[in-house]
């Protein structure tokens, strides 16, 4: 599936996207723009960062491609990414992930689900991860949808844990999925796919 080795760029493929670890050279105006975009950052519960390319490159360099990955999402045949997924391998076979689609033309196009499916298969099947979890602002409804659609369970509500860009406090939700749950869901999806193919004669 991938020839990744510790310290090397992670490269994965989905049906519609190429995924590869970003490097400091990827700190383009487009990438920096996502960190400074109020709409993108507010959906995550943050203020725009007011970064420049040097600060963005510094951020990218923090990812070592050993336990920390910052992976760009590139539509096939395109040179610029539309977003990224960050992966943090933790102790006890846990992984924390977060994903940002910075290019708004791709919002609502199931990019998150497609990308995470491939990344989660890699984490559970190749990396020996036992549990994947993520944190989300309780007013980030699209992100909550994506967790639910991929079988995650809401494991906890941290009450009024964060403060939004407008100063109001909001709950922080913890979503998690275990390896067995993920693999059962993937098998069920494959069964459904085969059934549909049989029914349509494809």
């Amino acid at each position: 599936m991938t020839d990744w080795r510790p310290g090397r760029q992670l490269k994965l493929q989905t049906e519609n996207y190429r995924l590869r670890s970003l490097t400091a050279k990827d700190a383009t105006d487009t990438y920096v723009g996502w960190w400074n975009d109020p709409e993108v950052q507010n959906s995550l519960g943050f203020e725009p960062r007011q970064w420049d390319t040097a600060r963005a490159a510094q951020h990218i360099r923090r990812f070592d491609n050993r336990r920390r990955f910052h992976v760009g999402i590139f539509p096939r045949e395109q040179e610029l990414p539309i977003g990224f997924i960050s992966i943090f391998l933790e102790a006890e076979q846990r992984a924390l992930t977060n994903i940002v689609i910075g290019n708004k033309d791709y919002w609502g196009r199931r990019v998150v689900i497609e990308v995470r499916q491939t990344v989660f298969d890699w984490l559970f099947n190749d990396m020996g991860v036992f549990k994947i979890y993520g944190k989300v602002n309780a007013r980030n409804f699209p992100s909550i949808f994506n967790y639910k659609a991929q079988g995650f369970k809401c494991e906890g509500v941290l009450r009024l844990h964060g403060r939004g860009f407008d100063g109001t406090r909001h709950d922080l939700l913890m979503f998690g999925i275990l390896r067995d749950e993920w693999q059962a869901k993937r098998q069920e999806e494959k069964r459904q796919e085969e059934k549909t193919q049989e029914e349509t004669g494809q």
Partner: protein, 85 residues
């Protein structure tokens, strides 16, 4: 009678259907009684955001986190409206 069938006799079933149809940008008859996340193709991330916002507009208040988390199907929406203050 199944739980979903029972909810279809609730006073808010049609309202729930209209609100969900509005969020999914379809006509209410296009939604079957079993409409749910993962089952209904039009129910994507942006539709889910619209759903919460139309429910908040309908009720004139912000949904609590627990209420919002419970919305996974048309039946959930109807049950929520049946019990909503």
């Amino acid at each position: 009678m199944t739980e979903t069938a029972s909810l279809q006799h609730g006073i808010h079933w049609q309202t729930a259907r209209q609100l969900l149809a509005s969020a999914l940008q379809v006509e209410p008859p296009q939604l079957d009684a079993e409409a749910a996340i993962g089952r209904t193709e039009r129910w994507d991330s942006l539709a889910h955001m619209r759903l919460v916002l139309v429910l908040e507009e309908h009720l004139g208040r912000t949904l609590t986190t627990e209420e919002m988390l419970a919305l996974e199907s048309l039946a959930d929406i109807a049950a929520f409206l049946d019990g909503a203050p």
